[in-house]
């Protein structure tokens, strides 16, 4: 475990309040995955691929790396570029090119799956959960079950 991590219950409390604060300030729920659709929409100006999008999602997600940078500068020993993957080094291919390929394919599945499911961990688990939307909660559980099964296959079987 990383040394800078805060207690789980405190982190959960703060993230929960952030979700509520987002509703209060912006008037809508938070979300991450549709920000990618905003980017694709700008890159693919000629046709409208996604219908109506909330541009605020883009600004929300734009803030995430800034938050990550601030955290690293304040609480971690030093900021630097790294390609360290921790325990994932054991299960992913040794060659960097193949690692990049696996991560890219994984990312593709995340992006495609999030659009098909109408949201990611933020939209379904955190925000959908806060609204007690059963379809969102079911989706969040399925995300978790499929990811758990895949991780066990990666670490224990293959």
């Amino acid at each position: 475990m990383e040394s800078y991590m805060i207690t789980a219950w405190l982190g959960g409390l703060l993230i929960g309040w952030l979700v509520v604060l987002h509703f209060l300030m912006i008037g809508r729920g938070a979300g991450c995955s549709s920000a990618y659709a905003c980017v694709v929409d700008v890159l693919h100006k000629d046709i409208n691929l996604f219908g109506s999008l909330d541009p605020m999602r883009f600004f929300f997600v734009l803030g995430l790396p800034i938050g990550g940078l601030i955290h690293t500068l304040v609480f971690q020993s030093s900021w630097g570029l790294s390609f360290d993957m921790g325990v994932y080094e054991q299960v992913l291919p040794v060659s960097t090119a193949l690692k990049v390929l696996v991560l890219f394919i994984g990312g593709t599945l995340l992006g495609f799956g999030a659009r098909l499911a109408g949201g990611c961990t933020t939209g379904h688990a955190l925000v959908g959960g806060a609204m007690l939307n059963w379809a969102s909660m079911l989706t969040a559980v399925l995300f978790f079950v499929v990811a758990t099964a895949t991780t066990w296959l990666m670490f224990k079987v293959i």
């Binding site: 993230i15 309040w17 912006i26 694709v40 803030g63 990312g107 806060a130 099964a149």
Partner: protein
């Protein structure tokens, strides 16, 4: 004017969210793997407590009939309805989550930490989103 404030507020909320995702270890490969291998319950506890806190907060907003602070509108609680796509989407998303130990939010936050592993993941998410958009467009064109 409102748009500018809303953009700034969204960015600010994102900064705090990114900071918190790193604080709880959501951007760490080891913490993510430990969650799925049932070795450590840091992230499941974070998710569960965040959800419960959110439920209380949303209940309070509804009870107080609060309107949004910036635009002074009624707050929208848009619930995604159930469809078969949710199940298919979950399968793709779950496999992607396990392969990358990230989700669309944490992958971007990783970039700020200098974790280059986030770069192919973010590029992949963009590609997957793009493919979904193009497929949807084709389907639409076919049905017209």
């Amino acid at each position: 004017m409102h748009m500018k404030i809303e953009k700034g507020a969204s960015l600010g909320l994102g900064v705090v969210f990114g900071f918190l995702l790193v604080s709880v270890g959501a951007t760490s490969f080891d913490t993510q793997a430990a969650m799925f291998l049932f070795k450590d319950f840091q992230l499941p506890i974070v998710l569960a407590v965040a959800m419960m806190t959110g439920v209380v907060g949303v209940w309070m907003i509804k009870r107080m009939k609060a309107s949004s602070i910036i635009v002074q509108q009624q707050i929208e609680f848009m619930k995604i309805p159930f469809s078969k796509n949710l199940i298919m989407g979950s399968i793709f998303f779950g496999i992607g989550w396990a392969l990358t130990a990230s989700c669309p939010g944490t992958a971007v936050a990783m970039l700020g930490e200098g974790k280059l592993v986030g770069v192919p993941v973010v590029a992949g998410i963009l590609a997957g989103t793009w493919v979904y958009g193009l497929m949807g467009k084709k389907k639409q064109a076919g049905s017209e």
